[in-house]
């Protein structure tokens, strides 16, 4: 199949977030919780328009993709997540970027993540 021309692609934002929790959080469980929180807060219609997609999550930090004009809503959805599979969590957005590259460069390299695990 021919790739979609760049002008026809959805505009996106990449949200880098950090999870505060006692135990390590499983990626698929976090995705389940994200979807249930999104559809509970925004309804199925609103959740669909956010165009959510979890790109990467290492148990503490992750990158979430969403529609470019829905970042405030997605922030609210992330803020309403309080438990993942029974584990208490608090999610904190580190930053938002227009590309994966700048998102990782700006927000994922801080702190204790060693450089060579990303490159």
């Amino acid at each position: 199949m021919k790739p979609l021309p760049s002008s026809m692609r959805e505009r996106k934002r990449y949200i880098v977030f950090e999870v505060l929790s006692t135990e390590k959080i499983d990626r698929s469980e976090l995705i389940d919780e994200l979807w249930s929180s999104a559809s509970s807060l925004l309804g199925d219609v609103g959740a669909a328009s956010c165009n959510l997609w979890m790109l990467d999550f290492d148990g503490r930090r992750g990158i979430l993709r969403c529609a470019h004009d829905k970042t405030a809503m997605v922030r609210a959805v992330l803020a309403t997540i309080n438990r993942v599979h029974g584990i208490r969590v608090g999610i904190h957005v580190l930053g938002i970027s227009g590309t994966v590259k700048s998102a990782t460069e700006k927000f994922m390299r801080q702190g204790d993540i060693p450089r060579d695990t990303i490159d």
């Binding site: 505060l20 208490r88 957005v93």
Partner: protein
Amino acid sequence: MLNYYDLNVHALPEGADPPSILSSVAKRYGYAAIAITNHSNFWSEVTAEGIISGVEIVADGISELKEKIKNYRPKVDVLLVHGGDPKINRAAVESSDVDVLAHPFHEFNHVLAKSAAENEVAIEFNLDALIYARGVSRVRALSAFQINLKLARKFGVPTVLTSGARSQYDLRAPREMIALASLFGMSEAEAIGALSKTPWSIILRNKKKARAWSYYETSTILDA
């Protein structure tokens, strides 16, 4: 950069974490300080860096409330009243010694809004109702917030946004609080004011009062 404050956080023994952990998480999230406001039946004095001492007064009746306000006022910098009951809400907004009426919910109207504006009692939008509730109870909380916000705008009542956190996992960063506030129609500028300017003016006002009070005390002692 603006200084952000969260004026309703519960620490040990009422919450799950000691004040030091709560304040370090809050600092990482971008808050200048948080107020530890345990309910009056769990209250103990807390003083530390990045922490404002506060209390959330719980009372069954008006006379008990007045007694407790008099008792706690000299001891704390931020005084909240645990609202929700119509009589308590009314007594709280009629007292200029009260800083914040916490979660008034549906028991708030134009009469109360008018006296709240006169006495400079802020009303609280406690976002834990949006974070933890799902379904009907969250819908109710949102509609109460919408009505209270409309009244606050009309009568010029100061507003504060708080997390009502009971553990470090309940705290939310200022940007997240602003996003949650937009769900019930609060604009970004209003939300920033409710996290920074309004709490700061409350803190400042009480610091001034405390200074005036201690000055008054020393001067009367000297006179005697």
